[in-house]
């Protein structure tokens, strides 16, 4: 459990954007996995199986949670424009602060659900294309296509901030 705690918790945090809810979801996922362990046939790796449970559980939570607020791009720019500017500022200390997680969650919530999932699996958890394909039960080409579209849309959503701040210069 310790081996997967960080990954499952990180995935839940990225998906649910709330620490308390993410921890509760992670607990639910491990309990569910423990109970379903006899059903695990070994057709995929254990981590893929666990990621599948995590993905389905997070989607269930999001669907049940009608009160969850998703941000339209315009609303985000209007309400949090300055904060987004700061997040992508050239000051690495400010950009690394913990409170920026909330903002990052809001930015990610401007994306469709499937884009958010695939970006989280790849960028936050570092899954390989094949692992993502097994987790999401789709082909390798579908993974590549969806990942590419998700990145394009995210960069498009952030284009004003990226252009103005030129964050890439510091990397």
């Amino acid at each position: 459990m310790r081996q997967y705690h960080k990954k499952v918790m990180g995935y839940c945090l990225s998906m649910l954007q709330n620490h308390t809810e993410a921890e509760e979801a992670a607990q639910d996922i491990f309990v569910k996995a423990y109970r379903s362990l006899p059903k695990f046939k070994g057709n995929s790796t254990f981590s893929t199986w666990l990621y599948r449970i995590t993905t389905n559980h997070c989607l269930d939570v999001l669907r049940k949670r009608n009160r969850r607020k998703t941000y339209s791009l315009d609303a985000l720019v209007e309400e949090e424009g300055d904060s987004v500017h700061r997040l992508f500022s050239s000051n690495p200390v400010a950009a690394a602060q913990m409170e920026n997680r909330d903002l990052a969650g809001k930015i990610l919530s401007t994306l469709p659900e499937d884009y958010r999932i695939i970006l989280t699996l790849r960028e936050a958890d570092g899954l390989e294309y094949q692992e993502i394909a097994e987790t999401l039960d789709c082909s390798l080409d579908a993974v590549k296509g969806r990942l590419s579209r998700a990145r394009k849309q995210l960069q498009e959503n952030l284009r004003h901030f990226l252009r103005e701040n030129d964050v890439y210069k510091e990397e």
Partner: protein, 150 residues
């Protein structure tokens, strides 16, 4: 490889699944192409800010593990309770109903044979025993007043 083809492979380079030959080609292109370098650097910056590495203290991890294990134990206990719940909710009433039905069948229903006509054999044996008891084989009226009176 053209610039467009390389662009399609840029993120594959970033993600890692390129063959050695492709990797060398893309890296060679990157060294000469500022716009491709910018695209990759920009994405790295976005990713670093939106997907920062998660850090959890050992104490937090211990606490999490203990909470999950407690829930697992509780759920195991609840599973046992659930079985008893099913027994109490369904099995007991079913057994009770079956006992009642059996009692009704064997106790109450035979009483209703009083209303049905006796069979010929039963009537004959009843008459024979009555006749032998009365001594002359003739049917005699020997009802007591108690039997006649209501």
């Amino acid at each position: 490889m053209t610039h467009e083809t390389i662009q399609q492979k840029l993120f594959a380079l970033y993600d890692g699944p390129l063959s050695e030959q492709e990797r060398k080609l893309v890296e060679g292109h990157l060294a000469q192409c500022p716009s491709c370098r910018k695209a990759i650097a920009q994405w790295k910056a976005v990713s670093a800010r939106l997907f920062p590495p998660q850090t959890f203290s050992e104490a937090a991890e211990d606490f999490f593990v203990s909470k999950v294990m407690t829930r697992v134990r509780i759920s195991t206990l609840e599973a046992g309770k659930f079985a008893w719940g099913v027994i109490l909710r369904w099995a007991l009433p079913l057994v009770g109903s079956a006992v009642l039905a059996g009692w009704a069948f064997f106790s109450v229903l035979p009483d209703t044979s009083f209303y049905s006509a006796p069979s010929a054999d039963a009537a004959f044996s009843s008459y024979s025993s009555y006749a032998s008891a009365s001594g002359n084989g003739m049917m005699q009226a020997s009802y007591s007043p108690d039997e006649i009176a209501p």
